[in-house]
Assembly symmetry: C3
Homo-oligomer: 147 residues x 3
């Protein structure tokens, strides 16, 4: 079935892109679990999920997960979009794998650093390494593209 | 012209992906219409759009549309990204249509449940059914992918 | 190397899509630079980046960059997703370039109008022209798609 991906780099891109998108989606569940356990919600109709203690409020640990989720949207989605065009531009497999693996590792590290509030520059490092991987792919795309 | 889509599932994916992206974009217009009718804005330079009553403020019904919009970004974009890789992996048309239609229906229901503040678990149901469709496609992609 | 993009419109789409994604990512850096120069942060562990003056707070000029960034996510990502399906649907090169160039120009103008708080309807104009380009591509995709 993998043979259906006719670009030789695409089956690899599909793996890493799906992993980082699933990681991003996992932030929704972390937010929901936090909301349920603390009884802190954003919508009045949700308050009944935590009988007796549900309320509308802002909670710093929930806002932290939300900020991590938004940072993922700001970085993971550009990686997938640029990565798809980069894959279509015909990179060597070794160069492509280097980009995909560095980005994926950097974002997993970024998430850990964000959620556990590790001392800086941990989170900044995860962020910048991920950005460098995406910008390097973007440079390759622009070199092969036409305007 | 449809023949240009050379993967047999792609013309169907193109339809459902475009519908849910347009649905997401519609949230921007709902926000703008709400801001104009209530005279409640986020930027000082926008206040003049509602002469005599424009002000910088937060309004709960506008924030509700914003939360619905953000929830769409968090769910619709992963669906389109994972769905594109799933389409490239060569699924059967019947299986693919099942995923695309369930997701699209679930997100339209989610939007209605969010905007009209339907009693829970309406919105939660729309959210989870959509997530299950995306995660099921992600599982198929990972099965066909290489790392 | 450009020959690897086998759809004749794809090398052009790759250019404009990458430019607007990089423009969106640049908002992250503008936020970081603003936070560092003002000493205003969202996370306690970041405060030490601005020794002596770092604090947790909200700052209107930083929130303005954040709103511009979120507006980019809400508009640039739909452009790239719909634009990729539009490219796959086999448009004429001249029609495709018109869409890509109008969108890219409109979003660069939107960013300038947002960051410098130009009098309205400058920003509204940039926003609407971009939306029209994306919706026009979506119309073309839906015309070629199957449901």
């Amino acid at each position: 079935m993998a043979g259906v991906f006719d670009n030789p780099v695409l089956p690899y891109f599909a793996f890493y892109a799906t992993v980082v998108v699933l990681k991003t989606m996992a932030m929704s569940f972390l937010t929901s679990l936090n909301r349920l356990s603390k009884g802190v919600f954003a919508n009045p109709e949700d308050v009944g999920f935590s009988p007796g203690k549900g309320k509308i409020a802002a909670d710093e640990s929930i806002e932290r997960v939300r900020r991590c989720h938004l940072n993922d949207l700001e970085n993971v989605i550009p990686f997938v979009l640029v990565g798809l065009l980069y894959t279509a531009s015909g990179p060597s497999l070794s160069s492509a794998l280097l980009h995909f693996r560095i980005f994926t590792g950097a974002r997993i590290f970024h998430t850990i650093a964000y959620l556990f509030a590790l001392p800086q520059p941990s989170r900044a490092l995860g962020f910048f390494v991920g950005v460098i991987a995406t910008v390097s792919m973007a440079y390759n795309v622009l070199s092969a593209a036409k305007c």
